[in-house]
């Protein structure tokens, strides 16, 4: 199998940028050409929310895929994909506040209090924002070990975000349930004892092939 190297990284990153940016272009065209339904506000909020959730799944899939396929260079795309979580979540919240609440500050606070799922989403967004702000290489170096501790909070987002989705729907719970389970599995995969077992098994397999 082709082993991806740093030379391929630029192509890989370009591909991921394209995959991240194209849905936004699609959304803009859909809204501009009146193809975003009778209530484009609801359409935009849902579309960007799903975008953030999908980007989160993609971010958390990178390291399992990199390890499974032994393509270490993939790990260097994690920040890029993770920043798309931040981008979509920002659009999601901006659309909610500007197009749905129409900049009613008072309503924002009363809604956040009255709708627990918004509180959960807001908490997830605060974490994502913190991670985005501390994602610069220079800051990463300066923060040292603490950087990893802070960025482990993405696992909390992986729990909060699908709960936010599940809690917001009226009755169509199957789709949010799939996200809950999927993201849950990606977290379980990272649990220390699961991880250890996997490493041990990997070593045995490695010895046998040698």
């Amino acid at each position: 199998m082709l082993r991806l190297t740093a030379k391929h990284l630029i192509w890989l990153k370009s591909l991921f940028h394209l995959m991240g940016a194209l849905p936004i272009a699609y959304l803009v065209i859909a809204v501009a050409t009146d193809r975003a339904g009778g209530d484009p506000v609801q359409y935009i909020i849902h579309f960007t929310g799903m975008g953030a959730l999908n980007a989160l799944v993609a971010t958390l899939l990178i390291s399992p895929i990199a390890k499974f396929t032994k393509q270490g260079v993939l790990m260097q795309t994690r920040r890029l994909v993770g920043l798309y979580v931040f981008a979509y979540a920002t659009l999601h919240i901006a659309a909610f506040f500007s197009l749905d609440l129409l900049f009613a500050w008072g309503l924002l606070f009363s809604e956040v209090v009255k709708r627990p799922y918004i509180l959960v989403g807001a908490l997830a967004y605060l974490i994502v924002t913190t991670l985005a702000v501390t994602s610069f290489k220079a800051l990463m170096r300066r923060m040292g070990r603490r950087w990893q501790i802070v960025h482990n909070a993405v696992y909390l987002v992986a729990i909060l975000a699908p709960i936010h989705f599940y809690w917001s729907v009226k009755s169509e719970i199957i789709e949010p349930s799939l996200y809950l389970v999927g993201l849950g599995l990606l977290l379980v995969w990272r649990l220390p004892f699961v991880h250890k077992k996997r490493v041990e098994r990997g070593n045995v397999a490695g010895k046998m092939t040698k």
Partner: protein, 344 residues
Amino acid sequence: MANSSRFTQGILKKAQWHIQDNQVTPESVFRSRRHIVKAMGLGAIGASIPGYVQAGLFDLFGDQPKTSFITTPLTFKTNPQYGGSDGLTPFDKVTSHNNFYEFGTSKQDPMDNAQGFKVDPWQLRIEGEVERPMTLDLDQLTKMFPLEERTYRLRCVEAWSMVIPWVGFPLAALLKKVGVTSKGKYVAFETAFDPEQMPGQKSRLMGGGIHYPYVEGLTLAEAMNDLTLLSVGLYGKTLPPQNGAPIRLVVPWKYGFKSIKSIVRIRVMDKQPPTSWNQLASHEYGFYANVNPAVDHPRWSQATERRIGEGGLFSATRIDTQLFNGYGEFVAPLYDGMDLRKFY
């Protein structure tokens, strides 16, 4: 023959939603918007795009009309009594933003999935505690009672609202015709059950977990109130399937889910009938479901609503929700002495 005008003191008045011919974009021009976008060459990037986006792009650039269901003009008189001064929600939005889980849970699903829905033949059975049970066929739905046009506000429990010119007849007229017996206290309604035509009834993923057929109910007093309409049309023509063809209920002082669509059975009962959303989550959706800004949904506020009106993305408005959706003068006496927090 089309008669969307009303006759007042010898003057022919246009219905309020009538627009001048020169204000209408010809349909051919409207349809060619997509050719314009296509001509920009945006289709070329298609190959590199994920599947779900491709499906959406096909929507964007596809030329097939989305609404192939045939609706026909109705003859009616306009009833100005309940009109109000709210601006109408345009036809395009009324017919493309629907909660009709039988055809899928996304707002556009009903428009996309209901176009092949067969309403002919149709049978609406009226039975239960009535003296003369009867079955109406499609033709009788629009011919048995004089039709009137009424413009009502529609407030969804999800906190958005529309203003729609319905065509129909009061439910009371039908109930008087069949004669409710002294035992009749409630009226139950049932939507058609046809999984072959209604994909949401076939697949739990598409149907949102509702136990089909969808059922609704009113007290007899609510059912007999003059506001309660059996609608067979909107904007002067028979109902499109996504709006509940061929006949649906419209109860404008209650949240939209009470206004059950595509009805096949009306049953007068001596006890309170089960209702679909109440069965699904009784702490969130009550039997009465009266629009009430003071009683919040457990997960969101009902104090305000976003009005879906004319214009695009940036012309949205948020308005205060009114008790009984502003129809208190007609229906408040129905709930005298009732604790509306308890009977939500």
